[in-house]
């Protein structure tokens, strides 16, 4: 260990090239922090766009009857909202955090493949412009749901090829990002930073990156088959031509279920950084956390059919997928237990990141329980495609993934900008978000149980009250997010200077760098003992 310290110590930090000036800095940047910032800003922008679409949906659903939009436009709002939130917000948000934090956490100067990094970001604005512009085409945007099931998806008008191409671009971007992350972690760790010393955020990203590489090409294949069915006369999914519409669902969910974990594993990683920091204790059961994450990722490839129990599968298939689904509760339970055990008898303080993290643990567990209910096949026959499912996946995605991204942003904002954010505003943002997310999504459980199908623009009057409450929650939640936008701008522009360590309980290499850190994080590799 001491010999490595000597050799790396001789590399002096001589040439100081900082960022280029102006727009070119952002267009051509190969710097992990600049690209991380781009990813995060893009994610925030898309969060507002996708959120506005969700508000169109909730506005129409506020009262029974059609008041504002045509059903077809409503359908394209739900479809686009999902595509944008998944591929434009949660994934780029998590990649942005990875870009910023992984090199600093493992003691590297930058990402391993900086040009690829630039490219994988700059594909995204094109992909999403393409997707959004389909709204202007004759026939409107895609309206067959983000799951794109044929034959309905094949009825999409002129938007069809553009949507497929946009999905290809998004997939390409995330696979390139994943390759970069794996290359970085495997090759650029500082001396002494063994795998079992990696911060949990890094671990969850290794596993997520492998999931991405395995899953995204499957999606690309599925949508390409849609494309050839439409334009080249193949009949992969056309029963009249000897194909099988259910085949698409199998292929799609073989991608789709791992995708769920692509969205949540980095969130687990963030929470595993935040909770120890504000409990002033190391993470409880580090090793079991790593194995639990790997187990979840592995199992995620064997449960896809629980998204499609109602298509009519053989009994043995239904039983297999039910048992496999229930077994995921075990590693997930391990994680929740470890987070609670970390807090147990810690000296806890509740700054904004910690508030979001605690809310994550509680609300994600609610989403986990409703997920377990859905995993039970005979129960799913009733709950499938209802608002119960809508409530379930929003509980794991909004107070799950989004709250975790928020927790991460609050945790690391002082490190990135060198300024403390406004804690009062942060807390206000948290409490409003926490209250209204529940007002928004909790009543949707009851709507589902009462028999309201999902993806409908209008409903029977018996569903009116809960829909009204849910819509109120949606508008309040949406508006509360503007506090965050304001807070970020304020924090970038100035504020109380942040120390290097920022938080009293913060541990890890990233907190040894100044706040804000130098342009090339570690030009001299630190030594980890």
């Amino acid at each position: 260990m001491s010999t490595t310290a000597a050799t790396v110590g001789t590399l002096a930090d001589e040439h100081h090239h900082g960022p280029q000036a102006g727009l070119m800095r952002w267009l051509f940047t190969t710097n992990h922090k600049d690209i991380g910032t781009l990813y995060l800003l893009f994610s925030l922008l898309m969060f507002l766009v996708g959120g506005a679409m969700a508000l169109v949906v909730r506005l129409e659903l506020m009262h029974p009857g059609l008041q504002y939009v045509e059903p077809q436009f409503f359908n394209s709002m739900t479809t686009m909202h999902a595509l944008i939130m998944i591929f434009g917000v949660v994934m780029p948000g998590a990649v942005g955090l990875a870009n910023w934090m992984i090199p600093m956490m493992i003691g590297a100067p930058d990402m391993a493949l900086p040009r690829l990094n630039n490219w994988s970001f700059w594909i995204l604005p094109f992909a999403f412009s393409l997707l959004l512009l389909t709204l202007l085409l004759p026939g409107g945007g895609p309206a067959g749901g983000w799951t794109m099931y044929p034959p309905l998806m094949l009825q999409t008008q002129d938007a069809f090829p553009f949507v497929i191409f946009a999905v290809h671009l998004m997939g390409l971007s995330s696979v390139m990002g994943a390759i970069n992350i794996i290359a970085t972690i495997f090759n650029m760790r500082a001396p002494g930073m063994t795998f079992m010393k990696l911060p949990l955020f890094v671990w969850t990203w290794i596993i997520t990156a492998f999931l991405l590489i395995a899953a995204m090409p499957v999606l690309a294949g599925a949508v390409t088959m849609l494309l050839t069915d439409r334009y080249f006369g193949t009949s992969f999914f056309n029963a009249a031509g000897g194909g099988d519409p259910v085949l698409f669902q199998h292929v799609f969910w073989f991608f789709g279920h791992p995708e769920v974990y692509i969205l949540i594993l980095p969130a687990f990683g963030i929470i595993s950084q935040v909770i120890p920091t504000f409990s002033r204790k190391p993470l409880f059961g580090y090793t079991s956390m790593v194995y639990a994450t790997a187990a979840i990722a592995f199992l995620s490839f064997f449960v896809w059919a629980h998204h499609m129990f109602t298509v009519g599968m053989p009994l043995t298939g239904e039983l297999f997928f039910m048992y496999a689904t229930m077994s995921i509760a075990v590693p997930t339970g391990v994680k929740i237990f470890n987070w609670i055990a970390t807090m147990w008898r810690g000296s806890l303080t509740f700054e904004t990141p910690m508030l979001f993290a605690v809310a994550f643990v509680v609300l994600f567990s609610i989403g986990g329980f409703s997920g377990l209910m859905l995993g039970i096949t005979p129960a799913d026959f009733q709950y499938h495609d209802t608002y119960f499912v809508v409530a379930h996946f929003h509980y794991v995605l909004v107070p799950g993934s989004i709250f975790a991204l928020m927790a991460g942003a609050y945790l690391w904002l002082p490190k990135w900008t060198g300024h403390m954010y406004n804690e009062t505003l942060g807390k206000l943002h948290f409490w409003l978000s926490f209250i209204f997310i529940n007002v928004l999504f909790f009543p949707q459980h009851f709507l589902g149980l009462a028999g309201m199908p999902r993806r409908i623009p209008d409903y029977a009057v018996r569903f009116a009250e809960f829909n009204f409450i849910s819509s109120l929650g949606a508008f309040a939640f949406g508006l509360s997010q503007l506090i965050f936008v304001y807070l970020v701008i304020q924090c970038v522009r100035g504020g109380q200077r942040a120390t290097d360590q920022v938080w009293e309980g913060a541990e890890g290499l990233e907190w040894t760098l100044p706040s804000p850190p130098p342009y090339h994080s570690f030009t001299t590799a630190p030594v980890v003992r």
């Binding site: 059903p71 409107g140 099988d244 009519g312 209008d458 409903y459 029977a460």
Partner: protein, 293 residues
């Protein structure tokens, strides 16, 4: 872990019972269409379509000005409900003709996808007479929200009477195929047929929805040769939302709706020279008998 096993055991038992669709007392084939259901009573030899009730349909139009609260069973009422006897094990065979739908009556405790080219089977036995309501549960396009299910469970005797009545109706409509109707009769009937079957896409005023559904008012096809027009309606257009109505409607209904399209919205003023103004059921029957164009 123990809790999970404690959940898995009863779940397995229930699932096995739910999938035991053997030995039914009767079978009903349920077919999803954009956007209505068809029920075929396989043992009794008749079938019918079931679409959203007219008052709900009127109220659900964008900014209709009609409050849903004033419409009885808003969006959960149909023109022709499914009727079944109580106490019988009924096997439901679900399939679809265009895109995937899902047949769901919450009170039965399950839903089953209706998939084109596939037949799924499920079963139910209803013990309490009454009206049970449900909806399509799988996104199936623009009017996914507007294809409800109404299931009326009645005592055996009432069910028998109803079956006889439906069989009679079916015969009546078959015999219509040989009758000749006046323009007024065809127009009146055609407007009804149009409203239930076509207006969801082509709109009540025939103006269509630009980019998605072509206008029929002033359309070259609706004002051109009768045979060409009829061909479009009978066989639809593969790969689009325009279904083959030749298999959905009776010859008389087809003649009526085609005649209606040729004369409504000022189309009668624009009819091509020498183009027929109206069609009769017999013309349609001949064209259908000739088979795929």
């Amino acid at each position: 872990m123990l809790i999970l096993i404690g959940m898995a055991v009863p779940a397995t038992r229930v699932l096995i019972a739910m999938e035991s669709t053997g030995n039914p007392d009767m079978q009903i084939k349920v077919t999803g269409y954009q956007w209505k259901w068809r029920y075929d009573y396989l043992d009794e030899g008749f079938g019918f379509f079931s679409s959203l009730a007219a008052d709900s349909n009127e109220a659900r139009q964008l900014r209709s000005g009609i409050s849903p609260h004033t419409v009885p069973n808003y969006l959960l009422e149909v023109d022709e409900p499914l009727v079944v006897p109580v106490g019988k094990k009924i096997r439901f065979l679900t399939t679809a003709s265009d895109v995937i739908h899902s047949w769901w009556v919450p009170a039965l405790g399950w839903k089953r996808d209706a998939i084109p080219g596939f037949i799924n089977s499920s079963w139910a036995r209803i013990d309490e007479p009454g009206v049970y309501r449900g909806q399509c549960a799988e996104l199936c396009g623009r009017d996914h929200a507007f294809m409800p299910i109404v299931l009326r469970a009645v005592e055996e005797q009432e069910y028998r009477d109803w079956v006889v009545q439906m069989q009679q109706k079916q015969q009546d409509s078959a015999s219509e195929a040989n009758q000749t109707f006046s323009l007024d009769e065809l127009m009146a009937r055609g407007e009804q047929v149009y409203t239930t079957n076509c207006s969801a896409c082509h709109q009540a005023g025939g103006q269509g929805i630009p980019g998605a559904f072509p206008a029929l008012a002033g359309s070259a096809i609706a004002t051109g040769a009768l045979q060409e027009h009829a061909r479009k309606v009978l066989y639809g257009k593969a790969g689009t939302a325009m279904a083959a109505f030749g298999v959905q409607l009776s010859a008389a209904e087809l003649a009526a709706v085609i005649t209606y399209e040729r004369n409504a919205w000022g189309n009668d003023q624009q009819l091509a020279e020498a183009a027929e103004r109206m069609g009769q059921p017999a013309d349609i029957a001949v064209q259908l008998a000739q088979g795929v164009p």
